[in-house]
């Protein structure tokens, strides 16, 4: 199988490799084969290999994907693969991108949980059917892989836009009854670079490997911001 892999940093080129095609083979298997057998200088990132850690995302044949759970048979158009680093992030080398901006935006969006209970307090009692809890549950399985961020057109147009993952995280906390940062967080995520910048094009949910819907989360934030603005709390 012919595989083209991006080599270099911001400036670089695709280098072609010949990799044996196996019946059961993921894109990460292909990259690992190249690094172990053909060129040990190839840089890429992975950890768990089972879709939990969110570190192996790359651009495969033009689309951002988690490579450890993407089978070659599903994506190799015409039997070839083109593997590039994730978009919208600075390339460090080859397939490794600098994720700092991505995670810094989680912090900027008020992504840290802050409660007011201590270990001596009792557990918060929240019913599973609680509407807010269900909203939080819908977004909580994010693994922070950056696929949605790489696929977001608004991030490409406006590099300061917080992006789908950070805003999805904020939405899960807005719906967390134990969290105390409500109005503060809404101020952080309002504005053009926050949830109001989203054009609802839904690339994020199209690409999300966990089938989450950051678009719906962002829509929820827009509603929350609107209500807060109308009540003069923003």
């Amino acid at each position: 199988m012919k595989v083209s892999i991006w080599r270099g940093g911001k400036v670089g080129r695709f280098v072609a490799y010949e990799v044996p095609r196996l019946e059961n083979q993921t894109v990460l298997d292909v990259v690992t084969y190249v690094q172990r057998k053909l060129d040990p200088s190839l840089s890429y990132r992975f950890s768990c290999r089972v879709g939990m850690c969110g570190s192996c995302a790359m651009t495969v044949n033009g689309k951002p994907r988690w490579t450890c759970r993407t089978h070659v048979s599903k994506v190799a158009v015409g039997g070839t693969l083109e593997i590039a680093p994730l978009g919208n992030l600075a390339v460090i080398k080859d397939l490794s991108v600098d994720m700092r901006v991505f995670f810094d935006k989680w912090a900027k969006a008020g992504g840290a949980f802050k409660g007011d209970k201590t270990r001596d307090d009792d557990f918060a009692l929240i019913k599973p059917a609680d509407k807010q809890r269900q909203n939080a549950n819908a977004g909580i399985e994010c693994i922070g892989c950056g696929v949605c961020y790489a696929g977001c057109d608004v991030v490409r147009w406006k590099p300061d836009y917080l992006g789908p993952a950070a805003l999805n995280r904020a939405w899960t906390l807005v719906n967390d009854a134990r969290d105390t940062q409500g109005p503060v967080r809404l101020q952080l995520i309002a504005g053009e670079n926050g949830c109001l910048g989203c054009h609802s094009q839904q690339s994020c949910q199209e690409h999300c490997p966990k089938h989450l819907s950051p678009t719906a989360s962002i829509a929820g934030l827009k509603r929350a911001v609107s209500v807060a603005a109308l009540k003069g709390r923003l």
Binding site: G191, G194, L196, S226
Partner: protein, 122 residues
């Protein structure tokens, strides 16, 4: 968060909200406007017919007055977002241009509304 950023975010949020509210107004206003056109042209379109219907009518003047305000707010806010995303114009220049654009839009709109009102029933 610094004060300038907070102010800009506050303004963005207000503008966003104004654009959503004016969108709702426009959605209703455009439907009424289109339905009126479709009904009105059944007997052929003539200036005299339009003037006899709209001219001097306080109700239509108020309806189109609201329409003009909604359009004059909605369009520049949307265009502002497009300019900020797609062009290298500074935020200040974009805001200035859009205030001018909105003013012109509302000016033309109110000129038409007033002209029909002052015309009387033809």
């Amino acid at each position: 968060m610094n004060a300038d950023l907070a102010y800009a975010d506050k303004m963005d949020s207000r503008l966003w909200l104004i654009q959503r509210i004016t969108a709702v107004v426009l959605a209703v206003a455009v439907v009424v406007h289109l339905a009126t056109i479709i009904v009105a042209v059944q007997g052929g379109l003539s200036a005299a017919e339009i003037v006899s219907r709209v001219g001097g009518s306080l109700g239509w003047a108020m309806f189109y007055g609201v329409f003009v305000v909604a359009a004059g707010l909605h369009a520049p806010i949307g265009l502002r977002t497009i300019l900020r995303e797609m062009t290298p114009l500074s935020p200040g220049a974009t805001n200035g241009l859009m205030i001018a654009f909105g003013t012109v839009l509302m000016g033309f709109g109110f000129r038409a509304v007033l002209a029909f009102y002052e015309m009387g029933g033809g």
